[in-house]
Amino acid sequence: MTDSTETKEPKAVENPHVVALIELCGTVESSTFRNQQRVVVPAEKSLDALSLLKSRGFDLLIDVSCVDYLEYRGAKHRYGLVYLLASTTGHQRLTIRVFVDDPEPTVASVVPLWEAANWLEREVWDLFGIRFTGHPDLRRLVMPEEFTAHPLRKDYPLQGRGERHNFPVITRDHS
């Protein structure tokens, strides 16, 4: 997220969920774009914040994903996690952003809150290398187990590394 000029929009402050988050985390950065409310919560408070929002009616976890801001102009942090929340009763959505940095990007797992986060967090670990503390089974999801890199990071090239010709060919005699 860039340094948005819409941060001080009065509508954002009126949102009761944002008010509740401010009570929990102190000041939070909140903005809207195309009627989508986004709130940045500190990494150490992310589990508390999401647990609060779950109790406030956001019962459906739509997605957990991540953005690598390595080459993004004006970005202050390396990784930005995205939690998309929705409600199954009223139609409301909220995006929660959590920023983490190298060398050990770590955030609390939300599997205790939503089982849906299990595979989504595994995918983020696989492709971005962000550790989720408290995750029951943090294995790679889509890449092979012996893979060493995290390919959706911006410093990983589109072509070249990790392609088929880089891997040793196992013949029948040597297997």
């Binding site: 997220m1 860039t2 948005s4 774009f33 195309r34 989508q36 986004r38 019962d59 459906l60 976890l61 739509i62 997605d63 994903s65 953005v67 690598d68 080459e71 993004y72 102009r73 004006g74 995205v82 998309l84 199954t88 139609h91 995006t95 939503w114 089982e115 849906a116 299990n118 595979w119 989504l120 995918e123 492709l127 790679r140 999801l141 889509v142 890449m143 092979p144 390919p151 959706l152 589109l158």
Partner: protein, 407 residues
């Protein structure tokens, strides 16, 4: 060195796990339909545990999304959920237009609604047909597949491609509806309900089918929400969430339709929900095709978002400028340095894209929220305690498409 007999540790009694049989199901198996793997732990014929494995079709679609322009990437979305590619096209460009802030013309919203609903029908035909096929109802599958051909024919007349349509464009669609497309769609609307009745008569009260699907793969409402289920899987468990009604995108607020739900949460309920959704989709298509607004299908030249027609390029100065601006590699769309998420109710559930724009031609990040991943993740929960033959019924009723699963 020989080992003395006393050194070998003999367990006094075998552990209960020793009797379990590990069965590798897939990645190449006719009943997995696509490339996915299950490691099943069996006690006799009963499944004690299942470990799903995925990634066999991982092709880095999200990485490719950071290197293709917004109009180019639509060809990749065709390959995600390839049994309803039109819905993916609509989802992708719905997200792109949310990020860019484009308002579509009324005709375009109607056309996209029609193709998305036809895609839903063709998806449900295949997924229900496959459940029938896996549980032994081969005739049913052929009835379903024949109707898919009719929908393919409509798409072929519309955009030239039967399977990988790549139909949408930023701010519009690649081809406008012609009278022939409308005629073919009307003919489909007339003939399809009859086949749908036949299909329901074939399977709804078929003893073998009902016995194999009723009470199998139970998903309660609480678990459905907890595990992030969307689409028919959630609605069969009593979650009345449908983005078409709750967050009307495109032209859905203009139409009269019902959200199909069931409360049982088993494979049979998921089958029934899909059958009913096809009828509702027919209603939507019928209303849309009869009230199709006239006017341009792409957004105006002045917005510089959709490529102008050849006639506009050659006969108007605005058309020439717009074509130049969009075609030159150092120009193109005005992309805000912002992030947006937009989703549609795809046949399988909520299909959305989280897009990050950095001012460039391509997305900085193009995250796809695939419904199949969350559906597949709940598979062990659904199959525990059932028999090996129920694996294919549950797998079919979740409608997992590995290309969308792995991306």
């Amino acid at each position: 060195m020989a080992i003395a007999p006393t050194e070998i540790e003999t367990p006094s009694e075998a552990r209960s796990e020793d009797y379990l049989w590990t069965l590798n199901f897939g990645p190449q198996h006719p009943a997995t339909h696509t490339t996915l793997r299950l490691v099943l732990k069996l006690e006799g014929e009963r499944v004690v545990d299942a470990v799903p494995e995925m990634g066999y079709l991982h092709s880095g679609f999200e990485k490719i999304g950071e290197h293709l322009t917004f109009n180019q990437y639509v060809t990749v979305t065709d390959r995600m959920n390839y049994i309803s590619p039109m819905a993916n096209n609509v989802a992708w460009h719905h997200s792109v237009e949310t990020l860019l802030g484009i308002d579509l013309t009324p005709r375009c919203t109607y056309i996209r609604t029609i193709v998305a609903e036809l895609a839903r029908i063709s998806d449900h035909l295949l997924s229900n047909g496959a459940v029938g096929l896996d549980t032994g109802a081969f005739t049913y599958f052929l009835y379903a597949f024949y109707q898919r051909e009719v929908i393919y024919d409509i798409f072929e007349t519309l955009c030239g491609a039967r399977f990988t349509n790549s139909y949408t464009r930023v701010g519009g669609v690649s081809q406008d509806f012609t009278p022939l497309v409308i005629e073919k769609t009307r003919a489909f609307l007339k003939t399809f309900p009859k086949t749908l009745n036949d299909m329901e008569r074939l399977l709804n009260r078929n003893r073998i089918f009902v016995d194999r699907t009723k009470g199998v793969g139970l998903l309660t409402k609480e678990e459905a929400i907890n595990r992030g289920a969307t689409g028919p899987v959630a609605r069969a468990s009593g979650v009345t969430r449908d983005l078409r009604r709750d967050d009307p995108y495109l032209a859905y607020s203009d139409f009269d339709f019902q959200v199909s739900c069931a409360s049982a949460g088993d494979c049979y309920a998921r089958y029934l929900v899909r059958m009913q959704e096809m009828r509702e989709s027919l209603k939507i298509v019928e209303q849309a095709i009869e009230n199709l607004p006239s006017g341009p299908v792409d957004v105006g030249i002045d917005e510089r978002m959709a490529l102008p027609t050849k006639k506009q390029v050659y006969s108007t100065i605005e058309g020439t400028i717009s074509h130049f601006e969009l075609s030159m590699s150092n120009r193109g769309f005005e992309v805000p340095c912002e992030e947006a998420y937009a989703a549609i109710e795809a046949p399988n559930g909520e299909l959305g894209f989280y897009l990050v724009g950095d001012g460039g031609e391509q997305a900085y990040r193009a995250r796809c929220r695939p419904p199949s991943v969350l559906n597949f993740a709940m598979f062990p929960h659904l199959i525990r305690g059932h028999t090996l033959s129920d694996v294919v019924a549950v797998l079919g009723s979740l409608n997992i498409i590995a290309a969308e699963l792995d991306r």
